[in-house]
């Protein structure tokens, strides 16, 4: 007997079809993962189960939660179900909690809404729940406010709220997407433990196939509002029926092959760099104190080399990136590009600046929405002594766009006419147009869906062959760094804790932090090995 069964659910908003004939079920104690790329309708499915769809949504089909038809239950009835019989955990822990209420009050609220009891008793229960999710009383008293907690800790509070009344079903919508890998591993363990302890059903929405393969008992693959394939994890991994499922898994583990790097000639030299930020005073008239974001970092990037920089959020990699770009001063040490310092005070040294470019993470925020593509990608011409004009400029634009797989005609369009993947191509075109010696890729593929990400990685590999690129690839995603770099630096708390050939570091990490990081990163199972084993049986 299943706990949740969704039968032929169709959903449209303003006559715009979001879901079509979605059917799936969750049994008690079972973890069902719904996966797919953005726009697949996986989050809408979760909201439909919660009865939290937008007012303009109209639905057909049936959602049966333990004998209750959710779609037919009026709002007061749904209020009684939410929090009590089904709990939900959201993607963004930083904003999921009310900033002006204590964590104790917020957890106790779940209890008080549904059960008649004194606030004091509810707070006791809240204390128990917080202990259960790994927030012990000595460090996390009920009086704490959300802003005093880290993202992972806040997600634990959200989980405590969701499970405070031991609901039979827990829905988790991308619960670890916003978290670092080590935190992600802890949260996933916590969820697994709760399912095992309480016999809850867990409906988990995630785009990360490695997480899916690791966690789920059953997998549901969605695309464009439809379920393309579903089945028990072991079966589905071995025996994928739908081409889209196969493509998705192939793209997730996508590997590219880079041309061998040339003989080492130093291009970028980072020597004993310190970057300090002033902190606000902790005592009324005390010394303000400093936070050392980058601590004694040294490395050399050779011409033609592809170097990776990995680390979790707050490790100092973004600060280091800005320092290398010459946008911020450093307190100690030096950063030399081709022998010249990158930071020259308020007046940038164009001679150095023109040797490097950058590609950012967010394909939506990287461009001025009011400029056409030709103006956007020629912005680096500002760095040149005599920027090309007329036909030479047109040719440069056409060449850059062609190099990244777009058409020269695209130069006349505005940025909103392009998809996320295309925008990232345009960002690469902008970085390439002046043929810089060095390109920084700052989380450049992190915001993309797996299939698009695979295409962009292929493009980078092609460009390496065509243009002898030298780049620094900054990312939190170990699997991507592994395939597009020759050498890798591992950064923790402002320091480089390990450096070496990418293959060596990943197969034989030396530093305990690197070991933790690699162990925590969810891995796609070796599908070919699985399939081979299956066919032998």
């Amino acid at each position: 007997m299943s706990l949740l069964s969704i039968e032929n659910l169709s959903l449209s908003i303003h006559r715009f079809d979001i879901l079509a004939d979605v059917s799936l079920s969750v049994a008690p104690g079972e973890i069902v993962a719904v996966t797919g790329e953005s726009g697949s309708g996986k989050s809408m499915t979760a909201l439909a189960v919660m009865g939290l769809l937008p007012d303009s949504a109209s639905t057909r089909g049936r959602i049966d939660l333990d004998g209750t038809d959710i779609l037919k239950t009026p709002e007061p009835g749904m209020c009684a179900i939410r929090g009590q019989r089904v709990g939900m955990v959201f993607q963004e822990p930083m904003t999921a909690l009310n900033p002006v209420k204590t964590i104790g009050d917020q957890v106790a609220e779940t209890i008080l809404v549904h059960k008649a009891m004194t606030p004091a008793k509810a707070l006791d229960r809240a204390r128990e729940m917080l202990d259960r999710v790994g927030l012990p009383a000595d460090r996390f008293p009920l009086s704490r406010y959300p802003h005093e907690l880290s993202g992972g800790q806040r997600q634990r509070v959200v989980i405590a709220m969701a499970i405070a009344l031991r609901p039979k079903l827990l829905i988790a919508d991308e619960p670890t997407t916003a978290l670092d890998v080590t935190t992600q591993a802890q949260i996933l363990d916590l969820l697994k433990g709760l399912v095992a302890d309480y016999g809850m059903g867990l409906l988990m929405i995630t785009h990360d196939l490695a997480v899916v393969a690791d966690m789920a008992d059953r997998i549901v693959v969605m695309r464009n509002g439809e379920v393309v394939e579903q089945g028990p994890t072991a079966d589905l991994l071995v025996n994928m029926q739908h081409p889209y499922t196969r493509m998705l898994f192939a793209a997730s583990g996508h590997q590219v092959s880079l041309p061998p790097p040339p003989a080492p000639v130093p291009l970028l030299q980072v020597q004993n760099v310190h970057r300090d930020y002033r902190l606000s005073r902790t005592r009324l008239f005390g010394d303000p104190g400093y936070f050392r974001a980058v601590n004694d970092v040294s490395f050399t990037l050779n011409r033609g080399e592809r170097l990776g920089l990995v680390g979790e959020s707050g490790c100092g990699k973004s600060t280091l990136t800005r320092a290398i770009l010459g946008l911020e001063n450093i307190q100690h040490g030096q950063i030399l590009l081709d022998g010249q310092p990158v930071f020259t005070g308020h007046k940038p040294n164009l001679a150095v600046r023109r040797k490097m470019q950058v590609v950012f993470q967010d394909p939506f925020g990287s461009f001025n929405p009011r400029h056409r593509v030709d103006r956007l990608i020629t912005e680096p011409f500002h760095l040149l002594v005599s920027p090309p004009t007329g036909t030479a400029r047109q040719d440069a634009i056409a060449e850059a766009l062609t190099a990244v797989g777009l058409r020269p005609q695209d130069a006349q369009k505005y940025i909103h006419e392009f998809s996320g993947g295309q925008r990232q191509r345009i960002a690469i075109a902008r970085a390439l147009i002046t043929r810089p010696d060095l390109i920084l890729f700052d989380e450049a593929v992190s915001a993309l869906d797996v299939s698009v990400r695979a295409q962009i990685l292929d493009l980078m590999a092609e460009l390496c062959t065509a243009y002898d690129l030298t780049y620094l690839f900054i990312s939190h995603d170990l699997s991507v760094v592994r395939t597009v770099t020759d050498r890798v630096l591992v950064m923790q708390a402002g320091q480089i804790v390990e450096a070496g050939e990418t293959a060596d570091v990943f197969t034989n990490p030396q530093h305990p932090y690197t070991q933790t990081l690699i162990a925590a990163a969810p891995q796609l199972p070796d599908l070919e090995a699985l399939q081979r084993r299956q066919s032998h049986v």
Partner: protein, 325 residues
């Protein structure tokens, strides 16, 4: 990290920082006012005595008024005097300015507070109601009313209130102030029409701000979390929405206070109230600049003070300000 109790140091540091900026603002404001008034052409002593005055009489009066010392010293005397509650002597009436202002303040200050209370009392429920009925007839009606309210000049509205409630219905006096000696309620009664005419247009603005601030909050992730816990829309709105929405609304209340003050000076003209407004306009026409200077300083002081209080109120509403600034 180990601050489990409200961080007293941070709170104190925050208040101290605000207080410092309050004092600097006051100092600069007083300097600006003094300098502007100093630019005024003509000598107050000659003006008061007329064109036929003897030079030695003028000189004597200048000494009496304290006009014969260097400007920087007069500035310091003025500021020093104000700190002790001595605002100088009126050029026209030859009485202490402090006393004149004090009398008028008992009309203007209660009026402003009365209006502020009224406008908040009207605006908060209206704004919350409209936000909770977004797009529905109730919201449309409230928004339509506020759109009109924002467009109505308060002194014109005051004239209409007089026409309807004082002249036609005779519920209130058309103007004048009975004085607090006539009793608290009698005083309140003569301030009622002025306060309403000040408060309604202000309430329209405040209600719009409250509504839009609340609508912003309703779109926040934590509101969805609250709903996922089983709170109804209404519960979520009251328990999680309103307090968060107050943060921007407080700013507006602070800024609005200066409008209220300016408004009350104009409204006093409509109702012939013996408040600061009347005093300042009389002083302008008799070129009694020392009174103008002091009243303006007082008005500016109250605006700065209210904004300081609003800054402190933030810290009470928003715990993030208490622990990190």
């Amino acid at each position: 990290m180990g601050h489990h109790r409200p961080n007293v140091t941070a709170m104190l540091r925050y208040s101290l920082k605000r207080l410092t900026s309050l004092l600097i603002s006051l100092a600069v404001a007083s300097l600006v006012i003094f300098l502007v008034i100093e630019v005024a052409p003509g000598d107050p002593a000659s003006f008061m005595l007329g064109i036929n005055a003897q030079p030695d009489t003028v000189a004597a009066l200048r000494t009496e008024l304290g006009l014969d010392v260097p400007k920087w010293q007069r500035y310091l005397d003025w500021v020093g005097g104000m700190l002790r509650g001595d605002f100088g002597t009126s050029y026209t009436y030859r009485t202490p300015v402090a006393g004149m202002i004090g009398d008028r303040l008992w009309v203007s200050l209660p009026l402003a507070l009365f209006a502020l209370t009224l406008s908040t009392a009207i605006a908060f429920p209206a704004g919350i109601y409209a936000a909770s009925r977004r797009g529905k007839p109730g919201d449309v009606a409230v928004m339509g009313a506020t759109q009109l309210g924002v467009a109505v000049p308060n002194f014109w509205f005051a004239m209409m209130l007089v026409l309807i409630f004082a002249i036609n219905l005779r519920w209130f006096n058309a103007g004048g102030f009975v004085g607090w000696d006539a009793g608290f309620w009698a005083g309140i009664r003569s301030l009622t029409l002025p306060a309403i005419s000040l408060a309604l247009p202000q309430a329209a603005i405040l209600a719009r701000v409250m509504r839009s601030s609340l609508l912003d909050i309703l779109g926040e992730d934590f509101m969805r979390t609250a709903r996922a816990k089983g709170l109804s829309r209404r519960q979520a709105l009251w328990q999680h929405g309103v307090r968060n929405a107050l943060i921007p609304v407080l700013t507006i209340i602070g800024l609005q206070f200066s409008f209220l003050l300016a408004g009350s000076i104009i409204i006093e003209q409509v109702f012939y109230l013996p408040g600061l407004g009347r005093l300042v306009f009389q002083s302008i026409s008799s070129r009694d600049l020392i009174v103008v200077e002091s009243v303006v300083m007082l008005l500016v002081f109250s605006v700065i003070l209210v904004n300081f209080l609003v800054d402190l109120a933030y810290a009470l509403v928003d715990p993030r300000l208490r622990t990190r600034t």
